[in-house]
Amino acid sequence: MTNALLCRGIRKSFGPVHALNGTDLTVRRGTIHGLVGENGAGKSTLMKVVVGELQPDSGYLELNATPGLIRQQLSTIPEFSVLDNIIFGAEPLRRGLVARRAAAERIGQLMEEIGLPLPLGAEAALLPLALQQRMEILRVLYHQAELILMDEPTALLTPNEVEAMSALLRRLVAQGHTIVFITHKLREVEALCDAVTVIRHGVTTHHWPDRSFTIAAMAAAMVGDAGGADAMPPEREGPDLTRADVLLSVGVGGHRIDVRAGEVTGIAGVAGNGQDALVEHVCGLADHAGFGAVTIGGVPVDGWPTKRRRTAGLRLIPADARRWGSAVEATLVDNVATAEVSPAFKGRFGTLRKGAMARHAAETVAAGQVVTAGIQQKAGELSGGNLQRLIAARELNSGGTVVVAHEPTRGVDFKAARAIRGRLRTFADQGGATLLVSSDLDELFEISDRIVVMYRGEVAGEVPRAEFSRARLGKLMGGIGAGETS
């Protein structure tokens, strides 16, 4: 058997979302195989299928090696010692007791073989992340994995630690292990991998069985544009933007992102490059280093609490509708009113004007074309798409001037996604400013006037609409050509 892993036409859906849509993957034994794709492409889902955590809806899967998955979010048990973490789930027993000494001997052997020393007695939580990751590697080796699946292993590491890990992976391969290396950092793939598979929207778009790949070719395959002519997005009719007022401004590293009235500014980037922090920083939900002053409508709002920023016109469509955008056990009326009821719905002594609240909720439901049994329905009973429509309508129809939309259509069905994008565009066209933070390039291309790319918490580049191309954006997102600003 030369193949450690063979996947053919794997399909897996979660409700309306097709995470895997006929994915192919062939991993030869004794290689480091790069699995590359944008956020949401289906990489993690595929790995969960391989280790048997998820059942595929259909497709062929052939495993000729014991797989072991090292997750992006490390599954360390913080209070346990390193030793106990490693043997967890396969503790050697002697007369019903855990034979720690025997285990320690075996792990000691393993550590010697691969040249990776760890303090076995230390409390796992006290180890630096890089060492916790090594502990996880030891763990899967201890559990006798031959095919090691590593989900974004370098996301948490500094460049030096990445070097060390690369050397370790090479040693493992030399000893006959096989490694699947999931990443979106193309430079690392180029430096390390023997073969590469690119997936996009759950479909394998390209496969290089040897080292014939190039960064540019991978970037193109990753964003769905096999090189050559870039389909130019259609020109959009719009007001002259250069003279319009800056409604939102935020410093990011040395740069300043300005969002003008009438404009949709897109923020692109592979997830985890500072977009979440940017949104929290702008909305006053958390302080993050590396971000600069924020102004709303020209007024500096640094140090202002969220409520005051909202009063100044800021609105937020959060990435996680159920966590940050709604109370699923409360009615639609309460969800539209939010915890901070607008003064328009307050009577004397802080009494609620329930009639007015209900009318406003009904209007919001109508404006958002939310399909519901009634405004007294619980928000949690709405479908994901309908809940997102409700949140978008609430944030866009409450007199705000600036809206931050963070992954506004993630996990939302196609029709609702299109409606929400349309609303975000309309909000800007009517004089508002939209900051669209998204990892979906198609979405950004559709409604943005320009796209700012973030990489490692910094602005990697800014691309005006006339110059939109997947290749250009893909490179900036992969950290290539940083500093190239137009």
């Binding site: 409700g15 979302v17 955008g325 939010t338 802080g350 609620l352 709405l382």
Partner: protein, 362 residues
């Protein structure tokens, strides 16, 4: 906040089952006493006369107020179990302050209550601050501070505020004015009206005002509230202080209506009414007017079983066991009722979709 009929039926059934088991135990242990006799003794003890009504109501007052206090905190999702400590803080402050505050009786009672409320609120603020400084969960800190409150109360009463004429007992001086009795020769005092008023006010604020709306939504999802502009830390502090104020009021009322001084060990400890108040907050639907009959019910369990003790001669230990059994039955019924309600409301609307975006991430 509608308790539908099915939920009520389940609760009633649970209560009957609990009482039946309790009755069976009393009949079995009570040395030949018949079940009807035990029931009659129970009813006599809880509601048989003005005096027994008075005892039941006086027992219910601190249970209701500390129950409201716990309910406010639980509503916001703040698991503050510091009610016994806040209750003691209010009582000690009232016992210490009342003799020192001059003035006509009405003014003296009112200003003493203000002191008690303030003390409860300050104690609550201390709990939150400690929890923040030590970065230990408020649940843990609040439980620990209950013992701290008992200890400090003894210390203060012994060293600072002790009535020099009291022999043997550690207690503060007699209060100059008390909450008036509403039924003569009983312990039915005016604090009962105050407690009911606080409960109605709480219900009204919760259901009809914007602060109540904020409390409900914050409790549903604090992240959503924060994103809408509720400042998380300040709000939780605010809620804890309000809860502390209500528990402090309970302490003040207990001193001014029942004991007429702070007697060491009478209010704190493991038999504190505040523990029963917490149970009330957990059993009764949060923030509803049902807290009032709930408090009366829990109080009558105590006074009724006192009656059974007197008439039939079962031990007070047994009556603790019986109380626990009835409470467990009610808790069981509440769980069933809530499940029934949830199932009912889910059946009304559209089927609950479970969008799975988790797996789509990569």
């Amino acid at each position: 906040m509608s308790v539908d009929r099915r939920a009520t039926q389940i609760m009633a059934l649970a209560l009957l089952i609990g009482l039946a088991i309790a009755g069976a135990i009393i009949a079995a242990v009570g040395g030949g006493a018949s079940l009807p006799a035990a029931a009659a003794a129970f009813a006599e003890g809880a509601y048989g006369s003005g005096a027994s009504w008075g005892a039941t109501v006086a027992t219910a007052v601190p249970v209701l107020l500390t129950g409201i206090s716990a309910s406010i905190a639980f509503r916001a999702g703040v698991f503050n179990l510091g009610q016994p400590g806040m209750f003691v803080a209010g009582a000690v402050a009232a016992g210490a302050a009342a003799p020192m505050l001059a003035g006509p009786p009405v003014l003296n009672v009112l200003s003493t209550l203000v002191v008690a409320v303030t003390a409860g609120a300050l104690w609550a603020a201390l709990i939150t601050t400690l929890s923040r400084l030590t970065a230990v969960d408020v649940l843990v800190i609040s439980l620990i501070t209950n013992y701290l409150a008992d200890g400090l109360a003894t210390l203060l009463t012994t060293r600072v505020f002790r009535d020099p004429t009291a022999l043997g007992v550690i207690e503060t001086r007699l209060v100059p004015a008390r909450l008036p009795l509403l039924i003569e020769q009983s312990s039915f005092h005016a604090g009962a009206l105050l407690a009911v008023a606080v409960c109605v006010l709480y219900w009204w604020i919760l259901n009809h005002t914007s602060p109540g709306h904020r409390l409900r939504l914050y409790g549903h999802n604090p992240d959503f509230a924060a994103a809408s502009g509720t400042p998380r830390r300040r709000y939780e502090m605010h809620i804890t202080v309000v809860a502390g104020a209500v528990s402090g009021l309970a302490g003040g009322i207990q001193v001014l209506g029942v004991f007429l001084r702070y007697i060491d060990g009478s209010i704190g400890g493991s038999s504190s009414a505040a523990w029963t108040g917490m149970i009330l907050a957990i059993l009764a639907p949060l923030g509803s007017l049902l807290l009032i009959p709930g408090a009366l019910f829990l109080a009558s369990l105590q006074t009724g079983l006192l009656g059974v003790e007197r008439e039939i001669g079962v031990s007070s230990r047994l009556s603790l066991v019986v109380q626990a059994i009835v409470m467990i039955a009610v808790a069981w019924g509440r769980g069933r009722a809530m499940r029934a309600q949830r199932a009912g409301s889910a059946g009304d609307g559209a089927p609950v979709p479970q969008p799975q975006t988790e797996g789509a991430k990569s």
